[in-house]
């Protein structure tokens, strides 16, 4: 096990253009499951590839286990990586795919079968060892890729969107298995995804990236409840945080905090008159799309999320008093879009 650290890590593909990764400083904890989360083009895969040694940084340092590894080739870094496409060797059987790293690292031959069987057993693919990758389903391929990664017991695991090729149902179960798997082996893992649900569910901590810059590093609870800026506030959460602009501030609140006023517990509230335009029925919850009526925020569009346990009557066309507890309001500077200290404000 080892800690991965980056210091002022930057990657510029074309001189004069904006870097794909800009001055990234981060460090994993021992045995942690760290998630790089960001939209496509945010630099998360480039960052991972630099840690793997597949991409040379323009500047900055990468440390694995306290040692600077910038000059080391991928094989000298003692890492294992699972690619988005799995990158299984199509001409080799599952057994030979899994034993390839052992051969390449010159592990004594008599240990191969035992290690392959251990890895295959851990992932439940012991019966597939004679098959070729093309004879496997998406989920099975993913497990073979994982088995190939763990077989030589790496110091660090790098996973590049390994679930994105699976269908939605399989993805949920694979996610759970991956979490169990990480718990059982306890190796420091860096996981890249653009799927916030995956990030929230699996990550010990999340690194939110945008345009090659780290916007926030924190536990899922921290990045969701206390976003560092408006990007994090709107990128996490579906539907995203509601943002209202006034003077030099932006105030934000989550759709699930914007509730009918009589359902809120006593305390300080910001209350609005809310006209519901239409309702999405999602089974366990209803998402209301509407706008504020009257006051300073007249006709600002707001989304609210109500649990299925809430009373009926919140239908399209209805107008109700909705409110947010003041403790649920988040404030951002309008210029920098960064978090700023809470303020009291005459909401009406």
């Amino acid at each position: 096990m080892a800690v991965v650290e980056t210091r002022h890590l930057t990657k510029v593909f074309k001189q004069g253009e904006l870097g794909a990764v800009n001055d990234v400083n981060l460090a994993t904890h021992e045995g942690e499951f760290l998630v790089f989360l960001g939209p496509s083009g945010s630099g998360k895969t480039t960052l991972l590839r630099m840690i793997a040694g597949l991409e040379t940084p323009t500047s900055g340092e990468i440390l694995i286990g306290g040692q600077v590894v910038n000059q080391l080739s991928p094989r000298e870094r003692r890492i294992a990586m699972v690619f988005q496409s799995y990158a299984l060797y199509p001409h080799l059987s599952v057994y030979n795919n899994i034993s390839f790293p052992l051969k390449a690292q010159k592990v004594p031959k008599h240990l191969h079968r035992q290690k392959v069987e251990w890895a295959a057993g851990l992932l439940g693919i012991g019966k597939l060892l004679d098959r070729k990758p093309r004879e496997l389903s998406g989920g099975e391929r993913q497990r073979v890729a994982l088995a190939r990664a763990i077989v030589r017991e790496p110091a660090v695991f790098l996973l590049d969107e390994p679930l994105s090729n699976l269908d939605a149902k399989l993805r949920a179960s694979a996610r759970e298995e991956l979490e169990q798997f990480h718990k059982s082996i306890g190796t420091t893992t860096i996981y890249v995804t653009h799927d916030q649900v995956e990030a929230m569910a699996m990550g010990d901590r999340i690194v939110v990236l945008h345009q090659g810059v780290v916007r926030q590093i924190g536990t899922p609870k921290e990045v969701y409840e206390d976003p560092a800026d408006t990007f994090v506030a709107t990128f996490l959460g579906s539907p995203p945080m509601n943002l209202l602009q006034f003077s030099d501030l932006i105030v934000g609140f989550r759709p699930e905090s914007f509730l009918p006023v009589d359902l809120l517990p006593a305390g300080k509230h910001a209350t609005f008159r809310y006209k519901i335009n239409y309702v999405e029925y999602l089974g366990a919850e209803r998402v209301l799309y509407g706008a504020i009526e009257g006051g300073k925020f007249e006709s600002k569009e707001i989304v609210s999320r109500l649990s299925w346990t809430m009373p009926a009557g919140y239908d399209a066309g209805a107008v109700h008093d909705f409110a947010v507890a003041e403790s649920d309001l988040r404030f951002f500077d309008r210029k920098t879009e960064k978090r700023t200290h809470p303020q009291t404000y005459p909401w009406q």
């Binding site: 793997a52 040694g53 597949l54 080739s73 991928p74 094989r75 890492i79 294992a80 990586m81 690619f83 988005q84 496409s85 990158a87 060797y89 199509p90 001409h91 390839f100 790293p101 051969k103 390449a104 690292q105 093309r134 190939r148 030589r152």
Partner: protein, 291 residues
Amino acid sequence: MTDRKLGALMFAPAVLFILLLIGAPFVLAVLYAFSDVRIGSTGFHFVGLENFRSILQSPSFRQALQNSIVFTIGAETIVIVCSNILSIALEKPFLGRGFVRFLILLPWVAPVSLGTIGWKWILDSIYSVITWVLVALHFYKPYGAPMWLGEPHLAMASVILVHCWRLIPFSTVIMLAGRSAIPKEIPEAASIDGAGFWRTLFQINIPMMTPIISIAVLFGIIFTFTDMTVVFILTAGGPFDSTQTLPSLAFATGVQGSDLAAGAAISLFLVPVLVAVAYMMLRVAHRAEVV
């Protein structure tokens, strides 16, 4: 016009081409091989296997058959190794790659006869620039340098190398296509798994390129086994039949020596090899489609 008729009409030129330019001469060659036809003869007498019997007893034929095998295997081995190396060198972008690719492709686009005539001068016994350089560098005394086309082993080596010079570009283009069809992540995964350059090359890249390498090899065999231009221009089969191959012997016997029947019989010995290669090509193509 119905679709059926239109289809037949569109298809007709290809069928005519094959029937008139390949089918008819082939049937004629088979007929001649069992006859006593010579250039200028008016009659046609069936002589059974007589032509084949006399060819098989001829030392020239046996030498030509052996030369054809050496020529094909030697040239193909060099071509495949060199084109593989070139495809590795030309895969990654570098300054001037486009120009280098163009230069490498030149021997293939230049007419065979012109290129080979150029080589005939380069390897000439008196005017050879290679000899001149070797003498100037004092590797040989003046008039003591090897005769590239005049000594049996050197002549064969020269013919093979000139043919390689011509065939390597074609093979390189095929190899480059095969190499760029390997997803980028696969060699990357191999490098992370701990494989170095050689292991990645021999255990990952080359096995993954097998279908396309097979195509390059099979095309190369056809081009080499049936080629007579290089041999004919450089050495005309000499010295002492040491570079004579089946096609050049068939031409020398049938056209230059007027014995059409014997020439046809010699050329029929190419058929089994070509049929086997064609069958294997179809199999490879079929398999490549299925995978």
